[in-house]
Amino acid sequence: MSEHIITFDKVNKWYGNNFHVLRDIDLQVKTGERIVVCGPSGSGKSTLIRCINRLEEHQQGHLTVDGVELTDDVKAIDDVRKKVGMVFQQFNLFPHLTVLENLTLSPMWVGKMPKKEAEDRAMAQLERVRIANQAGKYPLQLSGGQQQRVAIARALCLKPKIMLFDEPTSALDPEMIKEVLDVMIEMANQGITMLCVTHEMGFAKAVADRVIFMDQGQIVEQNNPHDFFNNPQSERSRDFLSKILGH
């Protein structure tokens, strides 16, 4: 066992026959490391993190998550998904279930946990994201920021070792971004391994151990946030940073 919890080894992926979305990705993530992935749209950053829990399959190379290599083996995929939580841009809460039911679903059906225990765990997670008083409501009755915090709590109910965030604040009103980022920062301080696709550079500066910049399916540059923001090495990252920080 290495100290790396996630290892990409020459990973390649195509959409259809022509769109080479991930190109020779090599990446090692240490246990507890907090990584921010950024880059222009279509650069493959979402695809990269979606490969980690096999929402997308890679076609070449090796991808190992917590000692399990991801292949077509369904058992391996189930194994990995138990350790990896994910938060989506569009929240993807289940609209026909209450907030509490959203959280207890997986512990009860996948983890075979008794209802009472699952509810206790769910309430603890809702406390953590400061939304316990909304447990009986339906997702669509909440604001976007509240929904995303519920989504984070739902992912945390599985006690994952790794959390993936796919643009968690991109669908939110400006005033709600902060409440979600605050929750994420708090999580980051508790030692969970995090990979976060985001353009919130303030968040990257505050919590990231490493920033990865992607373009056209490749990792162009990776560095600690201080050096990445103050002294980007490649021209492409400089250009990108000037666009998103320029106003």
Binding site: N53, L55, Q90, P95, S106, V110
Partner: protein
């Protein structure tokens, strides 16, 4: 520059509509020239039709079982219903045994009503279905408990309509679910089997399915092997309804966003758990109106079994009148009577569907 303080305006209740009948009439029926003309035109048509129908159906109508009076009367002859009531409702079932369809159909109707109520959506409801159906067939078929045997080809009228409709609907629904899921399967074999099934069934009219079930199926079976015609016809209607319903359900499945399935996958749910807990509840909620459409049309399609000599409500009605020259001229009254029966059932189903829609949409209310 001094900052001004933002003072929110306190929320007020929405204004109450206070307009009366006259104001409403003026605004909605005579709002402008074309509306006014439309209102007058419709009023004239109604004035021409309604009083005539009313005097035909009620004022000049004959209510007694007296066909001489009926022949001379200017109005409707409801006596035909009074006279032929038992045959219309129970078909060719032996006259002195007709308490049996009455009792068993009452049990079946009770079961249907109970099944519609939320409080009874418990696992034991399935056991209740089995018990009631066993009761239904025991009482109807007889041959035991001191009851004389009545072959299924003597069953008829409303009991047969209700039996065919309720059984075919309740069996078609699960089949349709499986077919709809199958058409979206990743496995090409399953997908094509389901597609071929739907396209084959949709490609032929129900009448030909019933013909095949009734006349062709026995030819294909080995000598001496036979399945009761009622069962064959029931299977035909079920498979037919399932094909249509499957497509309605598939529409709902397609409307569930992909993100829902991805979220379920990241939570570790298996395929069947995802379908059962996430996809189907949302998909079915979206297609309640379409499914109810299927149910209602299946209910009415049962009238086609007449062509294979099973006399359900519509068939029993023509049987009753065609066999009796005295009452034969009063078909209109007879058909209006069974139309009323069909309407009561279909309208109840439609109201029930509205209630279901409200139930499943609770999570969307603000």
């Amino acid at each position: 520059m001094t900052a001004t303080t933002f003072e929110p305006i306190a929320a007020r209740p929405a204004p109450v509509k206070t307009e009366g009948l006259i104001a409403w009439t003026r605004a909605n029926l005579f709002g402008n020239t074309s509306t006014a003309l439309g209102t007058i035109a419709i009023a004239l048509v109604l004035l021409a039709i309604v009083p005539r129908f009313f005097s035909w159906a009620f004022i000049n109508a004959v209510w007694a079982k007296d066909y001489d009076a009926c022949h001379t009367a200017a109005g409707a002859c409801w006596g035909v219903v009074a006279e032929k009531f038992r045959i219309i409702i129970f078909g060719r079932y032996p006259f002195e045994e007709q308490w049996r369809p009455l009792v068993s159909t009452a049990a079946l109707l009770g079961l249907l009503v109970v099944s519609c109520m939320r409080a009874f959506w418990k696992p034991w409801l399935a056991a209740l279905w089995i018990a009631v159906l066993a009761f239904y067939f025991t009482v109807m078929y007889g041959g035991s408990l001191g009851l004389s045997r009545v072959e299924t080809d003597r069953w008829g009228g409303l009991p047969l309509t209700l039996l065919l409709a309720s059984l075919s609907m309740s069996m078609a629904f699960p089949i349709a679910l499986v077919i709809a899921l199958g058409r979206r399967s990743k496995l090409p074999a399953i997908r094509s089997v389901c597609t071929v099934y739907v396209e084959l069934i949709r490609g032929v009219p129900l009448i030909s399915v019933l013909f095949m079930a009734s006349f062709m199926f026995p030819l294909l079976m080995p000598q001496g092997f036979n399945i009761d015609v009622l069962v064959r016809v029931l299977a035909g209607i079920t498979l037919f309804a399932a094909a249509y319903m499957a497509e309605v359900i598939r529409g709902g499945l397609q409307a569930v966003p992909k993100g829902q399935i991805e979220a379920a996958a990241t939570l570790g749910l298996s395929y069947w758990q995802t379908q059962r807990k996430i996809v189907l509840p949302q998909a079915l909620a979206m297609v309640v109106p379409g499914i109810m459409n299927n149910f209602i049309s299946t209910f009415k399609d049962t009238s086609l079994v007449t062509i294979v000599s099973l006399y359900e409500l519509t068939g029993a009605m023509s049987l009753a009148l065609n066999s009796d020259a005295n009452w034969r001229p009063f078909k209109i009254e007879g058909y209006l009577f069974i139309a009323l029966i069909y309407f009561i059932f279909c309208f109840s189903m439609s109201r029930y569907s509205t209630w279901i829609e409200k139930q499943v949409n609770k999570s969307k209310l603000r």
